[in-house]
């Protein structure tokens, strides 16, 4: 990816008399590599967590909460995609199919073997991870765009297999499952409890993404993203790292898929086809794959925009498309980059400079 982090030293350092053009460049730059101070990161995390936890008590209604659940499980899937694209630079437009592998694995286990949510979850996640790794094998041979086309083919193929799978996959009508097995004292049929279940999973995904981002593993992935040959020449096992991140991404996708399954209680092949996959790619680009909260921002924008603006589905899809074009042309780092840059512009010189490793907004 040629989106180099070339502005590491510029952030927040606009001189007093900077021309308007320089200011604009500051706002649209991709500053994922520059860390914010730990205190700012912590405050952001706490505020966000508090908001998300308090959401069901704000009295926003059943419909709002339903959309919030959809947003959150989508965001979990997006964190997988964000890891593989943002950190390792491997884009996929077949990610919904990976979520589908998890969802269908769990549903089939439920129908055939009568396994519940908690027992089928590990199997579904493991299967998604394995499938993610297997589809990832071609990345070792072919580069960027060829791999994207392969993922799109895989996605289309997956839908055809599901549709022709007879009673085992429920064909075009799909499969039904029961509700989440209740934990002692917690019944997940209640919408707000289901929300907290998905929220807990989201926090796990966020924490995992953050830890990978600041770890040696994350740094190695970014080195591969920036220059694969150089990374290989200094002794990094590029193939293993690439497959590894795709499997982690598969784990996230499996988790998201199972949560989606038990929220909807019914799945069919169209949920995991080409269009949902394209929208996942769109959301992650919109939010900004390299920023900790980027995928979440992307999911919130895409899921809530039609609701807030009261758009019908056709108009809202046109709006997503236009947003995507604008973001790529004007703000290649995504909305996450924009928010971070605006914060830095306001905070001015108080932001520490330096080429630290973790790119977090």
């Amino acid at each position: 990816m040629p989106m180099t982090d070339n502005s590491a030293g510029k952030i927040g350092a606009a001189p007093e008399g900077a021309r308007a053009r320089d200011r604009l460049a500051l706002l649209t730059a991709d500053n994922a590599a520059v860390p914010l101070p730990a205190s700012v990161q912590a405050i952001t995390a706490i505020l966000l967590a508090a908001l998300l936890i308090a959401l069901p008590w704000l009295g926003l209604g059943y419909r709002f909460l339903s959309i919030a659940i959809t947003t959150l499980y989508t965001a979990i899937g997006l964190y997988g995609l964000g890891l593989q694209f943002g950190q390792a630079g491997i884009m996929s437009v077949g990610h919904a199919a990976l979520m589908g592998v998890g969802a269908y694995a769990s549903a089939i286990l439920s129908v055939q073997l009568d396994l519940g949510f908690w027992t089928s979850l590990p199997f579904a996640m493991a299967l998604s991870a394995i499938v993610g790794g297997v589809i990832g094998l071609p990345t070792l041979r072919v580069g960027g765009q060829h791999y994207i086309i392969i993922t799109f083919c895989f996605c289309a193929l997956f839908v055809i297999v599901l549709t022709n799978g007879g009673t085992f996959t429920g064909s075009a009508t799909g499969l039904d499952v029961g509700s989440v097995t209740p934990l002692p004292g917690i019944n997940f049929d209640k919408l707000s409890n289901n929300y907290y279940l998905v929220l807990a999973a989201l926090f796990l995904a966020l924490a995992a993404t953050h830890l990978i981002g600041i770890s040696r593993y994350g740094r190695t992935l970014r080195a591969i993203r920036e220059n694969e040959q150089l990374a290989r020449s200094v002794g990094i096992n590029v193939d293993l790292h690439k497959l590894g991140v795709l499997m982690v991404s598969g784990l996230f996708a499996g988790l998201a898929g199972v949560l989606q399954l038990y929220y909807l209680r019914h799945i069919s092949p169209t949920l995991f086809g080409a269009f949902p996959s394209l929208y996942l790619a769109l959301m992650v680009m919109l939010g900004g794959a390299r920023y900790l909260y980027g995928p979440l921002i992307g999911a919130v924008i895409v899921n809530f925009l039609p609701e807030v603006l009261n758009l019908d589905p056709v108009d809202s899809r046109i709006a997503y498309g236009v947003c995507l074009l604008l973001v790529i042309l004007l703000l290649p780092g995504g909305v996450g980059a924009g928010i971070k840059n605006i914060y830095c512009a306001i905070a001015g010189g108080s932001v520490t400079q330096g080429g630290g490793a973790n790119g977090r907004a």
């Binding site: 086309i149 289309a156 193929l157 055809i160 108009d315 899809r317 498309g321 947003c323 995507l324």
Partner: protein, 289 residues
């Protein structure tokens, strides 16, 4: 045997549309270095425009020309306003084309509706040759495709412009130093590929009904064809289109029709993994990033 010959003719006409979109993609991806995911939507827009104009009483063949010009203009606008800015970042261009395809699809739904559209057979003749019934329109589709393929092939391989274009692909900087306006060539190839998509769409709607979602199905076949043949290789795209069209047509008649779409996908994944440069050779497309 008669049935087999008829299946063959039908498959050839289906293959023609596939070849047209495949050539468009192979030129744009392989020579201009742009992966345009909205190319299938360009074809769909061409088909819809033809449907609209034919519905307004225009002769089909006049409508075909207008559809080609309209989609060519669309390609020009897309290249100037969007892809021009991402030539150095092909991945961003790819993502942007996904956005463009979503916009075009839903813009067509907004202007018309999401139901399938068809036109009556513009020629309405059936020729009987040696006991085989051939629908005249299908033969005309094949003939138009043959002419376009010939023009494109000789344009790329023999003409001055084709040579300059191939020079810009193999070494852009040197070509620019030799005075070739590379950027203008990129725009030109993009417009020409889009024009072919428009004509392909018009021909497609003369064969079978299309919906606003046809583009996203056909784009995969277009990529399959261009990758089988090798990017930038017009002859390869023809071979790829024939193979895919025949496999599809014959499997619909004899094999398992519900798996028809899967064949092209499997073929494509295998080729991408085993021979990324295509079966017949070609450029590798824009440098993988």
């Amino acid at each position: 045997m008669d049935i087999f010959v008829q299946q063959l003719v039908n498959s050839l006409s289906v293959a023609s549309v596939t070849i047209l979109i495949g050539i468009g993609i192979t030129l744009i991806f392989g020579l201009a270095g742009i992966v345009n995911f909205a190319h299938g939507e360009f074809l769909m827009v061409g088909g819809m425009a033809t449907w609209f104009m034919a519905g307004a009483g225009m002769n089909f063949f006049v409508a075909l020309v207008f559809a080609g010009l309209l989609v060519g203009a669309l390609g020009f606008a897309a290249e100037r306003c969007l892809f021009r800015f991402t030539l150095n970042r092909p991945m961003n261009g790819f993502i942007m084309s996904i956005g463009l395809s979503v916009i075009l699809q839903h813009a067509v739904i907004r202007v018309f509706n999401e139901f399938q559209k068809s036109i009556t057979d513009p020629v309405g003749l059936v020729w009987t040759i040696g006991g085989v019934d051939i629908i005249a329109m299908r033969a005309i589709v094949v003939a138009i495709t043959v002419v376009i393929v010939a023009i494109t092939y000789f344009g790329i391989s023999r003409s001055r412009y084709g040579m300059a274009l191939r020079a810009s692909v193999s070494d852009r900087d040197t070509a620019e130093l030799m005075g070739i306006p590379v950027r203008r060539y990129v725009t030109g190839v993009f417009i020409y590929g889009s024009l072919l998509a428009g004509i392909g769409g018009a021909l497609m709607i003369s064969l079978f009904p299309i919906t606003p979602f046809t583009g996203s199905v056909i784009i995969i076949r277009g990529f399959a064809v261009s990758l089988i043949g090798g990017l930038g290789n017009v002859g390869g795209a023809v071979v790829g289109g024939l193979v895919l069209g025949l496999v599809d047509g014959l499997s619909a008649g004899y094999g398992y029709p519900e798996w028809t779409d899967a064949y092209s996908l499997v073929v494509m994944i295998l080729i991408l993994v085993l021979r990324p440069q295509g079966l017949l050779g070609g450029t590798l497309g824009p440098k993988a990033s």
